[in-house]
């Protein structure tokens, strides 16, 4: 029993310590916590569902990036695929669904916030954001990154070189946040980077197709596509083909499921918008809390 407890604890020790990771996640959690306190003081309630979604999202991402899990992700292909499933899909999905950016913003100390305002409004930043959130660009980036890092030669150097490895994981997380924010941000006509829910559903359908093809290709490939796991050794003796098949399935099925769940949530929002239009005004329908959607 003591052994299990100890290994549970030691599992949280980072495989490769990264100062940047610690700062990033502490800032995210700290600012969110301050933001929640701030909104409570000013009489706005952030539902527990939203808080739960946010904290679960960042905890999952932290877990796959900065614990012993990272070791398994480096030395087992299918564990690596699960890591990217969390960093690119599940984690950012939960974070974006919890609509955290207003809360995070209000968690920034007043003076720093004032200092940041001009940057947030700078045309360069707004322009780049608009480009990144332009649906065709967002789709190409989202799918392109998956294909890019799974190109066998690039995958080989990314797994061998620690800096490239870090870049790979952070690029997945940041793109995941951008993408799922495009999908789940509350719709304001004319808002920067806002498209109607119907278009968002189309985006979710479109990203599914190439991901399914790639996942199926890896799953059914009869040759070993990623030999870096043979070169570096696997975390435990698992047949290389089994590793590749499970990894292929992880690239194929769960991401498709995430698209489907996203579509269901958006359909829920479209319906509640339609209901609102028939209802007398005054109902707060702009922010649909996860769980209710």
């Amino acid at each position: 029993m003591a052994d299990v407890f100890q290994s549970l604890l030691t599992f949280w020790i980072p495989w490769e310590f990264s100062f940047f990771t610690v700062v990033f996640y502490s800032l995210a959690a700290g600012l969110y916590w301050r933001g929640i306190r701030h909104s409570r003081e000013s009489g706005r309630q952030i539902s527990l569902w939203r808080q739960f979604g946010f904290y679960t999202g960042i905890l999952l991402c932290y877990f796959v990036m900065h614990t012993e899990y990272d070791y398994y992700a480096q030395y087992m292909f299918f564990m690596h695929r699960i890591q990217h499933l969390v960093l690119h899909h599940l984690g950012p999905f939960l974070i974006a669904l919890s609509l955290p950016f207003g809360v995070l913003w209000s968690g920034i100390p007043g003076r720093i916030r004032q200092f940041l305002v001009p940057y947030g409004n700078a045309s360069f930043i707004r322009g780049s954001y608009r480009v990144l959130q332009y649906p065709p660009v967002a789709i190409v980036l989202f799918v392109g990154l998956i294909f890019f890092w799974l190109t066998p030669e690039i995958h080989f150097v990314a797994m061998l070189n620690q800096n490239l490895y870090q870049l790979m994981n952070w690029s997945m997380l940041l793109d995941g946040l951008l993408f799922w924010w495009l999908i789940f941000s509350p719709y304001h006509p004319g808002g920067v980077g806002h498209i109607h829910y119907g278009w968002r559903i189309l985006v979710l359908v479109l990203i599914m197709i190439p991901q399914n093809l790639l996942g199926a290709y890896i799953t059914f490939s009869e040759s070993m596509l990623f030999d870096v796991y043979d070169v570096c050794g696997r975390a435990w003796p698992l047949a290389p083909m089994t590793d590749q098949i499970v990894g292929g399935i992880m690239t194929w099925i769960p991401p498709a499921m995430m698209s489907v769940v996203g579509i269901l949530i958006l359909l829920g929002r479209i319906r509640s918008q339609a209901v609102e239009r028939n209802d007398p005004p005054g109902v707060d329908g702009q922010l649909v809390a996860p769980g209710r959607a």
Binding site: Y71, Q74, Y75, S128, V131, L132, L141, L145, F148, I154, V157, L160, N161, Q162, N163, L164, L167, W170, S171, M172, L174, D175, D227, D230, V231, C232, G233, R234, A235, W236, P237, L238
Partner: protein, 197 residues
């Protein structure tokens, strides 16, 4: 990811290709000069004595991780290294150590390892160590190993790196060769490392 980071990725990749081309040698294996750290080890030899990299530098060192109960990859790779070595001149052959590091110290005692590695001829060195010693060495070269569950006879599989690391006589990491490459290509690379160091 932003376009900026995409640029960084492309820049890095181009950088890797440029440094690879810079050497003017078209290696058959992957050039790891400056990417992987120098040879450094603290292990136990087949006499049961503690050794470090100082016992081996001065000659070119070819490092391979495995275990003697290994059914396929290890004996095949060691045999390939023996054949590749034989394609070099006798003087060059004398300048090469093949360090076979067993990551299965429970079964690979120094005596057992001595019998196994002895069959591959001169220049083949068997090494192993405690789990701490082995862990610190594999971590240094970003590889790993792991054990399967023992069967009813107590035998178990060991997963390990299939990479062949080549260090020049001063201990600099030079090449990462794959066990799947042709023997001639491997011999060619070993010869050129000796000639360029």
């Amino acid at each position: 990811m932003s376009l900026g980071s995409l640029r960084i990725v492309l820049g890095l990749l181009i950088g890797i290709f440029i440094t690879a081309c810079d050497q003017e040698i078209d290696w058959n294996s992957t050039d790891i000069s400056g990417i992987m750290p120098d040879l450094s080890l603290a292990l136990v030899n087949t006499e049961g004595a503690q050794v470090t990299e100082k016992d081996f530098t001065g000659k070119m060192n070819v490092v391979f991780f495995g275990y003697t109960f290994c059914p396929d990859i290890c004996p095949a790779t060691l045999a390939k290294l023996r054949m590749a070595k034989r394609q070099l001149s006798p003087e060059q052959q004398a300048e090469i150590n093949v360090l076979f590091v067993s990551v299965d110290p429970d079964r690979d005692t120094p005596e057992h390892l001595k019998r196994y590695i002895g069959s591959f001829g001169p220049g083949f060195v068997g090494l192993t160590g405690t789990q701490e010693q082995l862990q610190s060495m594999v971590r240094r070269y970003r590889v790993t190993y792991g054990y399967g569950k023992p069967d009813e006879y107590g035998s178990y599989e060991v997963s390990h790196s299939s990479a062949i690391f080549v260090f020049d006589p001063t201990g600099n990491a030079r090449l990462l060769a794959k066990d799947t490459m042709p023997t001639e290509a491997l011999a060619d690379d070993l010869r050129r490392v000796l000639e360029t160091s």
